[in-house]
């Protein structure tokens, strides 16, 4: 081996990137080469110093929480730029049966729109009512409100008499039904997580919050947890937390509450999270070491004096039991 090749090995070894064979070769060389031995020691102490003085930002839970919240907003804006039906969002993702209903609604709405555009009713002729294929209390398109956008010509005809184009059609859909209906819940959870307007997200959480505990499904719970952890609006996060309090206290909810307590920037929400942990005392989970660890941390380091006092009080209460 040349001296330069040994130097390469030195570099690799100092950062832990040599295999056993390479290391053996190097060690043999170091026994006889003073210059390389000195270089090797310098490199090792250089790497040790780098590890001891890590640079950059500490990617802690709070930073992660903020990054997720900002990403959620960016994704929402991204989705808003796309067509609801032809873009990223697929009605089939909601539920196959509902997707079919929406598909039918969309087809009828587009047909109706095109029919009216191309063959307007003559004066005095009564507008024909579009027969709704949906049962009462179901989903139906808001007639005459289909918006056609992004018309793109694929084939201009070129004398054949036929043209081809694509377009996006957005059809408002009205739904009516019981809050217990899983289809309605699906739309509400989607709105809760993806609507751009915080007022609508809040209304969606409130609507879910009003429903009975028995009807909460796993997906709704998961959506509420996401909203509590990541919504940019503190009102939405707080309502999501309130909705979670109505559910049976379990490991997932505990974890989410601890996350909120650790990472949420709003002291009111952190206080609500401490309060929401109270059922742990009577649940099968109990006030375990995970909860106590977070509370101790909050009791020692939270910026807010009330939260520090409250956390201490809960710890004392837990110790008494």
């Amino acid at each position: 081996m040349t001296h330069d090749e040994y130097r390469d090995l030195l570099f690799l070894s100092a950062s832990g990137d040599t295999d056993a064979d390479g290391q053996a070769v190097l060690e043999k060389h170091l026994e006889t080469c003073e210059r390389c031995r000195k270089e090797y020691e310098d490199l090792r102490s250089f790497h040790a110093a780098l590890v001891a003085h890590r640079v950059g930002i500490e990617p802690d839970d709070r930073l992660l929480g903020e990054a997720r919240r900002e990403l959620r907003i960016a994704l929402r804006n991204e989705r808003a730029r796309r067509s609801l039906w032809f873009g990223w969002f697929d009605p089939g993702a909601i539920a196959p049966a509902y997707g079919f209903a929406l598909g039918a609604a969309f087809t009828l709405a587009v047909g109706f729109f095109l029919g009216r555009s191309l063959f307007p009713p003559s004066a005095g002729e009564e507008n024909p009512r579009l027969a709704s294929p949906f049962p009462a209390g179901g989903v139906r398109p808001e007639e005459e409100e289909t918006r056609i956008t992004n018309v793109h010509f694929v084939d201009h005809g070129g004398g054949t008499g036929e043209i081809e184009f694509t377009f996006d059609a957005v059809t408002p859909v009205r739904m009516r039904g019981s809050i217990d209906d899983p289809k309605i819940q699906k739309v509400l959870t989607h709105a809760m997580l993806n609507e751009e307007n915080p007022g609508i997200r809040l209304q969606a959480v409130n609507a879910i919050n009003r429903q009975g505990v028995e009807t909460q499904d796993l997906e709704t719970k998961s959506a509420l947890i996401k909203a509590m952890e990541m919504d940019a609006n503190v009102g939405v996060r707080k309502e999501a937390l309130n909705a979670l309090r109505r559910l049976p206290f379990d490991r997932e909810i505990k974890k989410a509450l601890l996350h909120a307590l650790m990472s949420d920037g709003n002291p009111g929400l952190r206080v609500a999270a401490i309060n929401a942990l109270d059922p742990a005392r009577t649940s099968a989970l109990g006030v375990d070491s995970e909860i106590l660890d977070v509370l101790k941390q909050k009791a020692a380091t939270d910026d807010n004096n009330y939260i520090r006092v409250k956390a201490r009080a809960v710890i004392q209460e837990a110790n008494r039991q």
Binding site: L12, S15, H53, G56, P59, L63, A67, L75, D90, A93
Partner: protein, 187 residues
């Protein structure tokens, strides 16, 4: 549910599946970003850009690599271009960012057991390392960061950078030499 299944669902428009994927992989992405840049805002910018690119490109993802590998490749690319954007910003802005990040609690972690003198020395060394990192080319810097601060192996970095291991070694050697030169008086 594994990544493949989640990706397939997300490709069909399932937003919950996409979020699951984000939650599985975003800590690594943020960690790489946070070590690569010097402000919390920059780290969040990189994080966001990575997942927006993932979101936009997901339909074209053909499972020729692991999903995580793809995400890491995008992360590396975003870091490389992010530096280019930062170059155009003024140094004063960078200083403002640092002040902000300290006030938000995302600054360097200080060990309360270490006395103020040691903390000052440590801060000084960290600052010198950051300054020295700033003299590297984007590729040298990302290789150096991934290897020394994030602990990735050379072959893993090669996959992330879509190049051969020899190229990664070359970047690492050059970066290490430069860093040692720059830091010879500091550490």
């Amino acid at each position: 549910m594994d990544d493949v299944e989640l990706v397939r669902k997300a490709q069909q428009g399932d937003v919950f599946a996409f979020e699951q994927l984000v939650f599985r992989h975003d800590k690594k992405v943020l960690s790489i970003a946070a070590r690569y840049v010097t402000s919390a805002d920059d780290a969040k910018d990189i994080y966001q850009e990575v997942f927006l690119r993932v979101y936009r490109g997901l339909k074209k993802f053909r499972f020729k690599s692991e999903f995580s590998t793809w995400v890491h490749r995008i992360t590396v690319n975003v870091c490389l271009t992010h530096r280019s954007r930062r170059r155009r910003t003024m140094q004063t802005l960078l200083l403002d960012d640092r002040n902000e990040e300290d006030s938000e609690g995302h600054g360097e972690i200080r060990d309360p057991a270490v006395g103020p003198d040691h903390q000052a020395v440590n801060a000084d060394i960290s600052s010198s390392i950051e300054k020295a990192l700033g003299t590297l080319s984007p590729k040298q810097k990302i290789v150096f960061t991934l290897r020394h601060f994030e602990g990735y192996k050379l072959n893993e970095i090669a996959v992330m950078m879509n190049c051969v291991e020899g190229t990664v070694k070359r970047y690492l050697f050059t970066a290490t030499r430069r860093m040692r030169d720059q830091l010879k008086d500091a550490i």
